[in-house]
């Protein structure tokens, strides 16, 4: 019961058993969200702080709602309006939050490894809500929950992920988590956005969007950061949309019962045509609900470990 480590830094640090425990717990939490009375006492008397150095809608709100649904005191800090703007270091900021009796610090940071760096200095548990290009473990967990609700097992399932692989922490966390549970992950994107050595993470690099999606059980699009065009990683939006978007034809190459996911926010008409975003196979809106459920599960299991110590 509970998790082995004090912190949730990434999928790298989770065992397959821990991943399954989080997913099973999340399915129960989802019943809470879907019930009329969204209130539990799991985190009563506990204190949770979100510390976000980058913008966020879904991740931040779902963490805040998750902690409120379970009865914790929660607060949030963002970089604007805090002493971060006065030049306070990350470690000093984190220690300050720690010393206010905080049980769990949920942090998003633009630097890979930032949560790994602060965690050993803190009594509080640190949850990585996205660190640079490294990991976004709760996104992968909610994606996996969305799949788990449709699969009996991850073993042998093919998951296709298309887009900006290089800069994506969502891809890294999904690749690690899914391969740990026996799924086959196929990735595709412009070569300028494909990191060297990605296949060492146990994924297959496809030759085209259609090749990537062929016979897939689930297909995932990724947001293209449009500022990447300025750094010459692709020449124009129309060209990207023509050669790299998940089109109807690409989705048709997947298995008939395959479903389409996207971590959001989506650039309509860039990585996904709007008609694909809204198609029957799309489960993008359901992913959002699962985000709250998974974050409730993570907070609950981390707190269970703290209570045992």
């Amino acid at each position: 019961m509970g998790l082995k480590n004090k912190d949730l830094l990434g999928m790298k640090q989770l065992t397959p058993e821990e991943i399954m425990e989080i997913l099973d717990t999340a399915r129960m939490m989802k019943m809470v969200i879907e019930s009329g009375n969204k209130k539990t006492t799991h985190l009563q008397g506990k204190s949770i702080v979100t510390l976000f150095y980058e913008n966020s809608t879904r991740t931040r709100l779902s963490f805040e709602l998750a902690s409120k649904y379970m009865g914790s005191a929660s607060a949030n800090i963002s970089t604007s309006g805090s002493s971060v703007n006065k030049g306070e270091s990350l470690l000093d900021t984190a220690r300050t939050i720690d010393m206010m009796g905080t049980d769990i610090i949920i942090m998003r940071h633009n630097q890979s490894g930032a949560p790994h760096f602060i965690a050993p200095y803190l009594k509080a548990s640190v949850v990585n809500a996205g660190d640079g290009m490294n990991e976004h473990p709760t996104q992968a967990l909610l994606d996996m929950l969305t799949m788990y609700e449709r699969f009996d097992t991850f073993e042998g399932k093919k998951i296709a992920i298309c887009g900006d692989i290089y800069h994506s922490r969502v891809v890294r966390s999904n690749a690690i988590g899914l391969t740990k549970l026996g799924a086959n992950v196929s990735v595709y994107g412009p070569r300028t956005m494909m990191p060297i050595g990605i296949e060492k993470m146990g994924v297959t690099v496809a030759d085209s969007v259609i090749d990537c999606c062929r016979d897939a059980d689930a297909v995932m699009g990724l947001r293209v950061q449009l500022e990447r065009q300025k750094s010459s990683l692709f020449p124009s939006v129309p060209e990207y949309a023509k050669f790299y978007a998940i089109t109807k034809e690409a989705l048709a190459a997947a298995k008939p019962d395959a479903f389409l996911m996207h971590p959001g926010p989506c650039n309509h008409g860039v990585e996904l045509p709007t008609e694909v975003y809204d198609c029957d196979q799309s489960v993008i809106n359901e992913q959002v609900t699962n985000g709250v459920a998974v974050r409730m599960a993570v907070l609950y299991l981390l707190m269970a470990r703290r209570n045992e110590l």
Binding site: S89, D131, G132, N134, I196, G197
Partner: protein, 418 residues
Amino acid sequence: MRLILTNCSVLGKETRDIYIADGKFCEAFGEADADRIIDVKGALVTPGLVDMHVHFREPGQEYKEDIGSGSRAAARGGFTSVCCMPNTSPVVDNAAVVRSIVKRGKDVGLCRVYPIGSASKGLNGEELSEIGLMKEAGIVAVSDDGKPISTAGFMRKVLEYCADFDVPVLNHCEDKSLSGGAMNEGPVSTSIGIRGIPSASEDVMIARDIIIAEYLGLPVHLCHVSTKGGMRMIREAKARGVRVTCETCPHYFTLTDNYCENYSSNYKMHPPLGTQEDVDAVIEAIVDGTVDCIVTDHAPHHQDEKEIEFSLALNGIVGLESSFALAYTYLVKTGKITLDRLMDLMCHNPSDILKLGRGGMNIGDDADLAVFDIDNEFVFDKNKMLTKGRNTPYDGWKLYGETMLTVMGGNITYEKLC
């Protein structure tokens, strides 16, 4: 000071006593005439080591290191001569700054401190520094270290102008349009989401410098070479007679980019730690003579600049106090090279490339020497270091070759009480 060292295992070849008077090695004299007699009990005695690539941060960044603390660290590492890179504040691009460093080095008196001047004014990569005037004031080479010498065209001018003054040119090899990351690009950087620096960044610049040096028929020295491809090109260039020399550092034959996995900035330096293939290639190049020198690239930084997010942390590690022990343990003790070869790498070759005239142990030579315990393992402890920096990846490593005694110009500059 009249000094007698007894039972010296000189370069591991002969055990004899060493006599020093008036700063020089001298003929035997009576014990009654000695100010001090030290029995080194058969420990290894070598010429004082020469490190042609250190950052002593003075003037301007004394919170990281100064010539005093840097010299003490050098002495503790068995070094009697060091060459300081010019990326200080202000930059070493004029004779006045050169003279101030020379004077500070002499006032401290623990190490021969040789300044290296910048190739370009303010390291701007565009205008030549006053290289002739700096040579008169005491520089032994020029470099824009920390940065590459900017363009191929400017490199040509630097090599040509320096040839008039017989000043060696040392280049930091990095193509800035390819670099920009924080660690070696490969499966590890991909896995941990750190922007990578391709080994091609170093290789492209090495290729450029070899081509220009070959075209002009002039010498060039390549700093801290770390890649398999770089070593191959230098080996080939030497074989066809290009006047290229190069150095590498202990971290490039003892560490790989796997160590970056936990985001510890003590594994962050430029060039970045490579793969095991690079490490193997560096060792091969040390063994076959491609590498001329082992240097430290001693780069002390303050805790506030290193104990932060990996990508934001500054590049570099300290090295003076671990260099000999790492080289001895990983190269000589493993049988890869002889002690004589190590002395070429850490003393004679850098002295020859920069024409320092160091490394002699004959009667009448300046009495620069170091004594090392190569028989007993010791644990490297970062808290015992004399540098101001604490940015070492070697804390807790078990090594051979602890420095017991260092003598520079006949004076004891470091002594570990036995």
